[in-house]
């Protein structure tokens, strides 16, 4: 299904669509207030972008440096060419420890690799511990936003889910009460887990360590209680130096939620005595994207979600309309790299207003890349929308002034007399949720001739 078809499903619930739109815009506003408190904000964005530029153009060296230092720190480093290999590596670590119970904290990468399904298929209990992720896991859905996984759900729906899975009171929709129920339920999971899996926000080449940021503290509860910690890390998550964290910790939370920093910024360099840390470095299409000059910049992404919160399309179409792990503007330039055919509608799910590029903390030229993908998709003949036919006709008509004026005259007459069926049909993709304005009696040219000549 294309983006617009899925978006049509989402907007059917008008009240919810409005709520979704307004709530994300409110988060965007919090971001603005928070970033304006830092006089050097723009300079920080440029620095963040330049550091990532340095990473992208020296990636192999930094990966080797990271591996060497991490290994010296007593961290086991693994390499996975794709999602399947990542899952097999995780599975083999679990098997070595005879692990049956896994707690997981937010990791978009494991979502991308389909890790949960893989592990559940071999009989392992995987519990997502971020509250939002636990909610969508109960609902058997993927997250709809990379920072706010359950932003598409209302508290009534969450209450119903919790009533079913956690036996909370029916109809009690109080967020405080529901969060407390999840706390009790997840505390028990933390205490009994064999292995904890987390994502990685930043891997540091110079020191061979990595940083995980959360607000809930769920990543830390998991890894410090379980004997084994597996951290899944996309190879683009590297930063060269420890001091670079100064830049990125300032950029990340302010861009994501408007907080001045995440509650917990945890730095892992060596395992606690008697425990193990494994890092799985994952390619899964990243080196291919690195090779696409026009789209390389997308690898700078630090997954703050700001481009989603600000996007007029995302806010009104919801995360699921993108049908990919990373939705929204950045997802629409990453996903076509994975599978162009499947994701061909995504680069068109944008007004190209550029708001995403304006808020991006690492200055990715998101809207320009969306436009670039459109060129690729059209030149490969993949665009088969009704708009295409209309555009062809339009280019003929607009290319000939004679044709334009005579057809214009006809349209002004016929639009007011034709039955709706003739106007709003499959050939008119623009007429789906919109009404045409009333046609004027005369064209501007005719009016001008009469009045000014």
């Amino acid at each position: 299904m294309s983006h617009s078809q899925k978006a049509a499903e989402f907007v059917q619930n008008e009240a919810k669509t409005n709520w979704h739109n307004e709530t994300l815009w409110w988060v965007r506003n919090k971001r603005d207030i928070s970033t304006q408190k830092i006089p050097e904000w723009e300079e920080l964005r440029s620095l963040g972008s330049a550091v990532k530029e340095n990473v992208m153009t020296n990636l192999a060296d930094y990966l080797e440096e990271f591996e060497k230092n991490a290994t010296a720190n007593g961290i086991h480093v693994h390499w996975a060419a794709d999602g399947q290999e990542h899952n097999r590596i995780v599975q083999s670590i679990l098997e070595q420890h005879n692990a049956k119970k896994v707690v997981k904290s937010k990791s978009i990468l494991t979502e991308e690799c389909g890790l949960n399904h893989h592990l559940e298929d071999i009989g392992i209990e995987v519990v997502d511990t971020d509250l939002g992720e636990r909610i969508v896991q109960f609902a058997k859905q993927p997250p709809s936003h990379i920072v706010l996984p359950a932003i598409h759900m209302k508290k009534e729906e969450i209450s119903e889910l919790f009533h079913k899975h956690l036996q909370t009171e029916e109809g009690n929709n109080d967020p405080q009460y529901l969060t407390e129920a999840a706390r009790q339920h997840l505390r028990e999971k933390f205490l009994n887990a064999d292995v904890a899996i987390t994502g990685v926000n930043f891997g540091i080449a110079e020191t061979g360590g990595f940083v995980v940021c959360t607000n809930e503290g769920n990543a830390d509860m998991g890894v410090h209680l379980a004997p084994v910690h597996i951290a899944s890390m996309g190879i683009e998550k590297l930063i060269p130096r420890f001091e670079d964290l100064g830049i990125f910790t300032r950029l990340l939370a302010r861009s994501a939620t408007g907080q001045p920093i995440t509650n917990y910024t945890s730095h892992f360099h060596r395992p606690e005595s008697g425990k193990e840390i494994h890092v799985v470095l994952v390619d899964n299409g990243r080196t291919a994207q690195l090779g696409r000059e026009k789209f390389r910049n997308s690898l700078k992404c630090i997954r703050c979600g700001a481009c989603m919160n600000t996007c007029p399309i995302y806010r009104r179409s919801g995360g699921y309309s993108y049908n990919s792990t990373v939705p929204g503007p950045i997802g629409s330039i990453l996903s076509p790299g994975f599978d162009l055919k499947k994701n061909k509608s995504l680069p068109f799910a944008s007004t190209l207003c550029g708001s995403c590029s304006d808020v991006c903390p690492v200055k990715i030229n998101i809207h320009e890349q969306l436009y670039e993908w459109r060129q690729v998709i059209v030149s490969e003949g993949l665009d088969a929308s009704p708009k295409k036919f209309a555009m062809k006709v339009a280019s003929k008509v607009l290319g000939s002034s004679k044709l334009y004026f005579s057809l214009g005259k006809m349209a002004r007459k016929s639009l007011s007399t034709l039955p709706n069926k003739m106007i709003y049909n499959n050939l008119n993709a623009w007429g789906k949720q919109r009404d045409l304005p009333k046609p004027p009696k005369e064209s501007f040219k005719e009016w001008y001739k009469k009045n000014r000549s």
């Binding site: 709530t23 408190k37 300079e43 440029s46 620095l47 330049a50 530029e53 340095n54 992208m56 153009t57 020296n58 192999a60 080797e64 693994h78 390499w79 060419a81 971020d130 509250l131 939002g132 909610i135 706010l148 932003i151 508290k155 967020p175 405080q176 969060t179 999840a182 706390r183 933390f190 205490l191 607000n215 809930e216 503290g217 830390d220 509860m221 410090h224 209680l225 420890f242 001091e243 670079d244 964290l245 100064g246 910790t249 300032r250 907080q259 001045p260 920093i261 509650n263 917990y264 945890s266 730095h267 892992f268 360099h269 060596r270 395992p271 606690e272 470095l281 080196t287 690195l290 090779g291």
Partner: protein, 191 residues
């Protein structure tokens, strides 16, 4: 497994990308009174701030009679109601009411406090307790994260910037304090 390592590295090297330099991080101008910035940031993040000295009587006000307390601060060790070796038991850990630790650096712009693992005793302790109490000296305050990172000379096996009690807004963006970890955090700012 090592096959993938070689494949990934050579895929990258074969691209032969023109190398870009790492930028120099400038010394940004720091303005204002760092102590009041630090306190304001903490209060905004739902942290109670007390100014005072390491006096055990201070803690009587913020703890209750039968609470389980573990202090990893030597001067306050008399406040501990459990022994160090009891921390090996996960159920004891999970019943901790108050944990008292010393913070090394406090950051004005966001209220973050650096806790290296040596100050925590067990890594999970500052997450699993109901109430986290952190002692920070006024002399250890810095303005921003750049200064904070440059002050960390020795890298601990684990270290943490903590900036408030555990929180979530995953249900309709309503803020709830105490998602998994502490429901309460107090900072004692000493001279």
């Amino acid at each position: 497994m090592s096959d993938s390592r070689a494949a990934i590295l050579s895929r990258i090297r074969d691209l032969n990308l023109e190398k870009k330099e790492h930028p120099v991080i400038p010394d940004f101008e720091k303005n204002g009174d760092v102590k009041s910035q630090f306190i304001n940031s903490l209060v905004a993040s739902h942290v109670s701030v007390i100014e005072g000295n390491l006096d055990t009587s201070l803690f009587e006000q913020i703890t209750s009679k039968n609470d389980i307390i573990y202090s990893n601060v030597d001067e306050l060790s008399s406040l501990s109601t459990i022994q160090k070796d009891q921390l090996e038991d996960q159920l004891t850990l999970s019943s901790l009411d108050h944990v008292i630790v010393r913070g090394e650096i406090g950051v004005g712009e966001n209220g973050a406090i650096w806790l290296p693992e040596i100050n925590i005793e067990k890594r999970v302790m500052s997450f699993i307790t109901l109430h986290l109490i952190v002692i920070v000296s006024k002399n250890d305050l810095v303005h921003d994260m750049h200064q904070a990172y440059s002050k960390i000379k020795e890298l601990p096996g684990f270290g943490l910037f903590v900036a408030g009690p555990s929180k979530t807004a995953d249900i309709e963006q309503s803020l709830v304090i105490g998602a998994h970890g502490p429901k309460r955090m107090t900072v004692l700012l000493t001279d």
